[in-house]
């Protein structure tokens, strides 16, 4: 059985076409040590694997399970047909982000990186620890450049739109 993908829901035809080669052999998910880590989630089984779930939805970018992919490339390396599920899943993540459907943690992380230069907030505790250890203090000097980059690519507008706040 060939996996179904709704072309109207996707703007990256080559990635989608590649995904249609999938013959559901399951190798990408059922070889425990060498395959997909997300498969360990209790909602998946050898008959309904994580990759089938991601590739089989009519609107794959709206499937919340795409955010379980950790970009480890195991599926790509195991696949005997060069389907590269990771390319499909990452493409759907990009579409979901574009449409404002990304996991809320992602929007928070992206906004934090653009506005401070760090993925994780600088805290009083970390500053104190660094001082105790004789390490240089951290600063947000990169933020100015990152905000210029985000303005140029249009990311700032998406963050404003989907988080409802100014950077």
């Amino acid at each position: 059985m060939v996996i179904r993908v709704n072309y109207d829901a996707d703007d990256n035809l080559s990635v989608v076409e590649a995904s249609e080669i999938c013959l559901k052999c399951g190798v990408c998910c059922v070889v425990k040590e060498h395959s997909c880590h997300a498969q360990l989630d209790s909602q998946f089984s050898p008959k309904c694997t994580y990759v089938y779930d991601c590739l089989g939805m009519d609107l794959p970018s709206e499937n919340p399970n795409i955010w379980l992919c950790v970009s480890c490339h195991k599926c790509e390396e195991m696949c005997p047909y060069e389907v590269s599920p990771i390319r499909f899943i990452e493409s759907m993540k990009a579409k979901a982000f574009e449409d404002g459907l990304a996991h809320p943690v992602i929007f928070g992380e992206v906004a934090n990186i653009v506005s401070t230069g760090f993925a994780f907030p600088l805290t009083v505790s970390s500053s104190r620890q660094r001082q105790q250890l004789g390490l240089e203090p951290l600063n947000e000097s990169a933020a100015e450049d990152l905000m210029k980059i985000a303005e140029k690519t249009g990311l700032s507008g998406k963050i404003d739109k989907y988080r409802g706040e100014e950077l």
């Binding site: 992919c69 480890c72 390396e77 990009a94 992602i106 990186i113 994780f120 990152l146 980059i149 990311l155």
Partner: protein
């Protein structure tokens, strides 16, 4: 050996004691780390680089350009940073069109990507630039009697044509690095399974617990005294993550974690205090006794 030091935001913000010991140990091995001004997050590969590719590539290219301006290769302490920076470095060196597009974005800043430097994880520097022979000559107190489970992590090995570090299906490099310390690498299954950090971060705590629990049980069955990692996120998952997962899973054992450079520091004569062990959340009295015995 001089490198532009890309410490990464997770390690420098959440685990500064690992930065301290890394700088000290690498310095003693003749690795000079230049504090390059203006680095930002790499950016993080799973949440940022795969969702807004152009912005992610431009941010990574800006970081690489700062090292290019100093004429130095980049040294990283994190698998994720290495993944993002190597992927973008590889893509932009190979694809002129992508390079022009990214440089057009970077024209808003004072930087341009030229493709003149390499990005190296510290483990790769130890293996290829310093050399394990030189590392071995620095060992003063071999950690004999210690069985160490090496967890290489996902993002440093795949895809191998870009990461060029180890075999993703049968990683051996970290075991060789453990051997140099005088310790025994643990022979355990599920060696290539993810630590579960990213799953925890993006909302699947059950899946992450199952993953981590399965790995820990496998390490424990193989008689591991500790697990050694080369990535701060993996470190955090095996330390704080193990503490939380143990409660939920009801594990009756613990496998303490050490960043590889902490273990190397011990073997070079550092004390438990020097490597910041008191800051770790997953404890094991048996492990500390064994280490103190090895250190004499």
């Amino acid at each position: 050996m001089k490198y532009s030091f890309f410490k990464g935001c997770f390690l420098s913000v959440r685990l500064p004691h690992l930065e301290r010991v890394s700088v000290n140990v690498l310095g003693e091995l003749g690795v000079e780390l230049k504090e390059t001004r203006g680095f930002s997050c790499c950016p993080e590969p799973v949440g940022f680089l795969s969702t807004d590719k152009l912005t992610g590539m431009a941010i990574a290219a800006r970081n690489i350009s700062l090292a290019e301006e100093e004429g130095l290769d980049i040294l990283t302490l994190c698998n994720g940073c290495t993944y993002s920076l190597r992927h973008v470095n590889h893509a932009l060196k190979a694809d002129e069109e992508a390079r022009e597009k990214v440089n057009e974005v970077l024209s808003e800043t004072d930087h341009q990507f030229r493709g003149t430097v390499d990005v190296k994880h510290f483990a790769s520097v130890l293996m290829n630039d310093v050399g394990l022979d030189r590392v071995a000559r620095k060992i003063e107190k071999p950690l004999k009697g210690l069985t160490v489970a090496g967890h290489t992590g996902c993002h440093i090995v795949s895809p191998p044509e870009i990461m060029a570090f180890d075999d993703p299906f049968d990683p051996q490099v970290l075991d060789k690095m453990v051997n140099v310390l005088g310790s025994e690498p643990a022979d355990f299954d599920l060696k290539t399974l993810c630590c579960g950090w990213t799953l925890t971060n993006y909302g699947d705590k059950d899946g992450a617990d199952k993953l981590l629990g399965a790995k820990l049980e496998s390490m424990h069955r193989a008689g591991s005294d500790c697990v050694s990692v080369i990535c701060p996120q993996c470190f955090y998952q095996f330390d704080m993550g193990q503490l939380l997962a143990s409660r939920r899973l009801g594990l009756d054992f613990s496998v303490p974690v050490l960043f590889y450079l902490q273990l190397l520091g011990l073997a070079m004569g550092y004390s438990l205090e020097d490597i910041g062990l008191k800051r770790h959340r997953t404890k094991s009295s048996g492990f500390e006794e064994k280490i103190l015995e090895a250190l004499g």
